[in-house]
Amino acid sequence: MERRDLPKTLYFSSIAVLAAYLALAPLAGHLITPNFLLLQLMALAISFNIIAGYVRYVSFGHVAFFGIGAYVTAILVWKLGLPPLLCVFVGGVGATLAALVVGIPTLRLRGTYFAIATIALNEAIKGSILILPDSVAGGSHGIPQPSIYAPLASYYALLGVTIGALVVMHFLVSSRMGLRFRSIGEDEEAASAMGINTVGVKLLGFMISAFLAGLVGGMNFWYTTYVEPVSAFNLRISIGMMATALLGGLGTLFGPLLGAVILYPVEQVLWVSFPEVYLMVLGAAIAIFVVFLPRGIMGYIRSKFSEFRAFIL
């Protein structure tokens, strides 16, 4: 094997090992929930990475799309009794539409407006669900739908979505559209001067990202069969995906996976007994990483080992 093939081999073999583990673990009698949450963290970090890593617009309130996906799924199951998988898909579409509504006014402007508008969206939707009558969206009691309980099916569906997202990202980043994303991330004015419709491209990236987060939210509802506003729109989920993507490496394919594999065990140890300490650590990690290691672990590896430079991990 030649040295320059090393990164590619490492990349594909580690993904294969990870996928094989996640696919076989429930069959080998492992508890499903920890692996479901690990997958969820990965998929959300991949979603956040599309808009923040490549287009380089931060969506602080990204959890809003997770929550919207969960709620649309829940309401469809509740009111219409459609099959869960279909409802999850529509949940993803609902999140995409919300991204369109927030994106059109804010993506014409600088990234700050966009970043804050996503937090405001999250708070406004959470607030609206609490204000609306319980018969519309369940109010503060949430929506329980125990009849759709199917842990294995929903687990494998999430595994499928995550692998699908990875495959799509793999081809997307080196496609023309992916190059447009990255050129906006590098220098938006230059990209615009080159004739790229920057607003349209940003909007597309945001919608793809929101679609994935919406699907994950829907899967979460399917797995837990319950949703309520405070946990579905909890900013903690945003913080988790941000720290994951940033630690692994924003703007790298492998970063979100690596970040999740590192952060998830830390979360399991700290979150259970010291939740404030865990979030404090994440906050400090975000602040320190973005200043001193803005491209995360993968970015560091790429800058240190020349073999990794050519291959976009």
Binding site: G127, L130, G283, I286
Partner: protein, 288 residues
């Protein structure tokens, strides 16, 4: 419609609006000078409020006077944070400073919950209310309002009359040009960041008089509101912040009385999105 209720609602909105202007002042200052939106602004406000609480509770220090301590203390803290963290992000892509200040805000919030628990406490500084012709004016809110307006006016005078103030305005208008004409942009930025945090903490102190309920989580709501206010009033303009504060507070108080008691966040969001859609440079701002 009952006219007294309407007038009372507008009056409450106006009193709150003056405070909102002060709350947004520091955010707009830092944003204007170094193009950094300090997401941790609300957390510094919360820290100022907690400092006021701890000065009041054992020592009985008047919250208005404690602003004289919280302001300078957070000015110094701001200098340090600028020197070691924020300075590295000035001029870098926005994503960097946004994530940095977001990380700082998460850190402060959870450290505060750890130290002081999420329980609600109150600065027990109460004043009577006066009423005339059916309208009730709580003196605590009135004095907080007056203090906020006086601070905003003195900041405006500082910006227009002193060398440092003019330098801050110059950086707000054009950072590179200010550098070219010989202004020490790094030093002015550092002072502006300190002033921004000082205003956040001062607003926190004065806010405890008008809105005494205090938890580590209050900052989170204020960053959304402060941002909406700065967008409404235009970045880096003290009176713009005041106008934006009045508008948002009025919309909120009318909305909570006539629509739904929990609607204030939804209203802030709608106001923000509408402003961005119709006039992104703010109501008082020039078209870019």
């Amino acid at each position: 419609m009952d006219v007294t209720i309407l007038l009372q609602t507008i009056l409450s909105g106006m009193l709150q609006g003056g405070l909102y202007g002060l709350i947004a002042l520091g955010l707009g200052l830092i944003w204007g000078v170094m193009k950094v939106v300090n997401i941790a602004h609300g957390e510094f406000l919360m820290l100022g409020a907690f400092m006021t609480y701890f000065l009041f509770n054992p020592f009985g220090l008047n919250p208005f006077l404690s602003a004289l301590i919280t302001g300078p203390a957070f000015f110094l803290i701001g200098l340090v944070i600028y020197k070691y963290l924020v300075r590295r992000t000035v001029g870098a892509p926005e994503l960097i400073s946004l994530l940095l200040t977001f990380g700082i805000s998460i850190f402060i919030l959870n450290a505060a919950i750890l130290a002081w628990t999420p329980d609600i406490r109150a600065v027990g500084y109460a004043l009577p209310s006066v009423s005339f012709s059916g309208l009730i004016v709580p003196l605590s809110r009135l004095y907080a309002f007056i203090a906020a307006i006086l601070l905003t006016i003195s900041f405006f005078i500082f910006l227009s009359k002193t060398y440092l103030g003019k330098a801050i305005k110059a950086l707000t208008q054009n950072y590179d040009a200010a550098h070219l004409v010989g202004i020490d942009t790094d030093r002015v930025s550092m002072i502006s960041f300190g002033l921004g945090l000082a205003f956040a903490a001062t607003a926190g102190s004065i806010n405890t008089v008008a809105n005494p309920a205090l938890t580590p989580m209050i900052g989170y709501l204020y960053i959304l509101k402060a941002f909406a206010i700065v967008v409404l009033g235009g970045v880096g303009k003290p009176f713009g912040a005041l106008a934006g504060g009045f508008l948002l507070a009025l919309a909120e108080s009318l909305g909570t009385v006539y629509w739904h008691a929990e609607a204030s966040v939804v209203i802030a969001f709608l106001v923000l999105l509408l402003t961005l859609f119709l006039r992104p440079s703010g109501l008082l701002g020039r078209k870019e």
